[in-house]
């Protein structure tokens, strides 16, 4: 006898699952559909067009905003991955006093409301600028640099969560073998550990990149006049004329982040398979 479900139960659950999939994907599919509609986003459909996509290319502010997000996402993810590797090594390979405190510190950005974090950074940057202006007559102001600083903080725990499981499985004896064969610690890291960790690093980079590229709450407080893509998107939503264009870009961004996420996931799986470890669920978002 099948204990988990009866036959009817199984059919019901299958049906429920696919209904939920439709519910999850339908709004996005509708959005994509209307990005090809020659008119407002409403029925009846007015005919097929690609001119919203072409309009995007000539919309300089929009392209600039996308470019800014790409910069912020690239820089903040690189920093987050570097810091994530260091933290993961310390947490896995070292014993030190206060480990629970460090671990709580690096994971707490997972649960802080981004709204609260965004205004905290806004307050402190305002203070720094005030002090700088009073003493030296200069100031940083808000902009991409402040967004990058914030995004590194919130991306860090995700990079650690991606790197930790792989590092846990990497045998320390590989490092020891390298040392016995005469490699110094730096060489060992560069020629043994780093190549083995590479899949996890790429995966962590992609996760951090997608997180940063779409992040609105923190960026809305810290971007100042240098609007990133989500901040720009949000500000322009009030302009009905622009809506079809925004929908078109959103569809492209959606497909792009889908591709990134899937490659991150596939990379992570391949890496784990290479070490003969069994995939244990949990995955990237855990």
């Amino acid at each position: 006898m099948e204990i988990a479900t009866s036959r009817t139960g199984r059919v019901t659950l299958t049906l429920f699952f696919w209904l939920l999939v439709v519910f999850l994907y339908l709004p996005i599919a509708v959005l994509a559909l209307f990005s090809f509609n020659d008119g407002d986003p409403s029925f009846p459909l007015a005919g097929f067009t690609t001119h919203w996509y072409r309009d995007v290319l000539s919309n300089d502010t929009l392209i600039t905003a996308l470019g800014r997000s790409a910069i912020v996402a690239t820089v903040s993810s690189l920093i987050a991955v570097a810091l994530g590797v260091m933290t993961s090594f310390a947490l896995i390979r070292r014993r030190f006093f206060g480990k629970p405190v460090v671990s709580a510190l690096v994971f707490s950005p997972l649960v802080i409301p981004y709204l609260v974090f965004g205004i905290s950074l806004l307050l402190i940057f305002t203070l720094v600028d005030k002090v700088l202006t009073e003493t030296f007559g200069v100031y940083f102001g808000l902009g991409l640099h402040s967004v990058i600083i914030g995004h590194v903080v919130v991306a860090l725990p995700y990079t650690i969560l991606t790197i930790l499981p792989l590092l846990e499985r990497l045998s320390v004896s590989l490092d020891e073998a390298a040392k016995d064969l005469g490699a110094n610690p730096r060489e060992t890291f560069r020629r043994v550990t780093l190549p083995l960790l590479m899949p996890a690093l790429i995966s962590a980079f992609l996760v951090a990149f997608t997180l940063s590229f779409d992040e609105f709450a923190i960026a809305s407080f810290l971007a100042g006049t240098q609007q990133t893509w989500p901040v720009y998107l949000f500000a322009q939503l009030r302009v009905p004329r622009l809506l079809p264009q925004l929908i078109a870009v959103s569809s492209v961004v959606f497909v792009g982040s889908l591709a990134l996420i899937l490659s991150a996931e596939i990379g992570r799986r391949l890496a784990q398979r290479r070490y003969g470890a069994e995939y244990s669920g949990g995955g990237f978002a855990a």
């Binding site: 409403s42 950005p109 609260v116």
Partner: protein, 282 residues
């Protein structure tokens, strides 16, 4: 060596995470002057005013709690069957199907909210579809679809279902199947097995899922801004307005700190509960 490894990340977090939060706490009691209007006198007046219910904000907080509680309960109830289906019913492809559920969560939050805005407006997809099918006259769209408390909760539930299905799936997937067989061999019906064995063992995942929705939705401000209108206005919107429009940063700091304390409290209670339970379940 360890100090070398940890100094950069810890320094980054202390400078750009801990210090700003501590700074908001100090600012909320007037410990630092930032604007000419700040008095620079340390006092708990702003806190007293807020906690004593002297402003609309405490009421707004409870309204947000009610909304996120509703959303969390609904989402957990919808996500549980999904986790159950993937962990215990599907044999092959279970991770592929899990990915199908999770992928929407990993794409732009703003985009998913925007999709609903486009769907539910007076001239939006849904109303215009009804109109094209002659089910509704052009001058009488269903207005409550957009800009209501209901819409905010609908969109939030939509946004968080994938994320909650994950911990529930993991706890059910890690469950020892022979326990189910044992229960069945000892004469329990399927329903009884579920209530007495499966559900208790998946409780850690369920609680984790609940916390995963409740914590972020209680500080939510983007969704109400886009689809909430005035009746969907939440606590997070008040905080944002105090900083961007009202420019009453001290009251804003009090509200932000209060939210942070509530979240920290929840994590202390439930975080521990989740961990202890998952160790016990192993």
């Amino acid at each position: 060596m360890t100090a070398g490894l940890l100094s950069a990340p810890v320094l980054w977090l202390v400078l750009f995470f801990v210090a700003p939060v501590v700074y908001v706490a100090i600012y909320s009691v007037g410990g630092i002057t930032l604007f000419p209007t700040d008095t620079g006198v340390i006092s708990l007046d702003y806190w007293r005013h807020f906690l004593g219910g002297g402003s609309i904000y405490l009421g707004l907080f409870w309204k947000s709690v009610r909304m996120s509680l509703t959303v969390s309960v609904v989402v957990v109830m919808l996500a549980y069957p999904i986790g159950y289906f993937l962990a215990l019913v599907v044999r092959k492809l279970k991770y592929v199907l899990l990915l199908v559920i999770i992928v929407p969560f990993l794409t732009s939050f703003l985009l998913r909210v925007l999709a609903w805005k486009v769907m539910l407006g007076d001239r939006g997809v849904f109303n215009s579809l009804l109109e094209s099918l002659h089910l509704r006259s052009p001058n009488h769209p269903i207005e409550w679809l957009l800009y209501s408390q209901f819409t905010v909760m609908l969109v939030l539930a939509y946004a968080w279902i994938p994320f909650v299905a994950l911990p529930i799936f993991v706890s059910l997937d890690n469950m020892d199947r022979s326990l189910l067989e044992a229960s069945s061999d000892l004469g329990c019906s399927r329903l009884r097995t579920f209530w007495r064995v499966t559900l208790p063992l998946s409780l850690p995942g369920l609680v984790a899922g609940f916390v995963f929705v409740f914590v972020p939705t209680i500080g939510e401000f983007v969704t109400p801004l886009l689809v909430g209108g005035t009746s969907g206005y939440m606590y997070g919107n008040a905080i944002q307005d105090l900083f961007t429009r009202g420019l009453d940063w001290q009251t804003g700091s009090v509200l932000a700190m209060f939210l942070l304390l509530v979240v920290a409290g929840l994590m202390l209670i439930f975080g521990r509960f989740v961990q202890v339970r998952s160790v016990a379940a192993d």
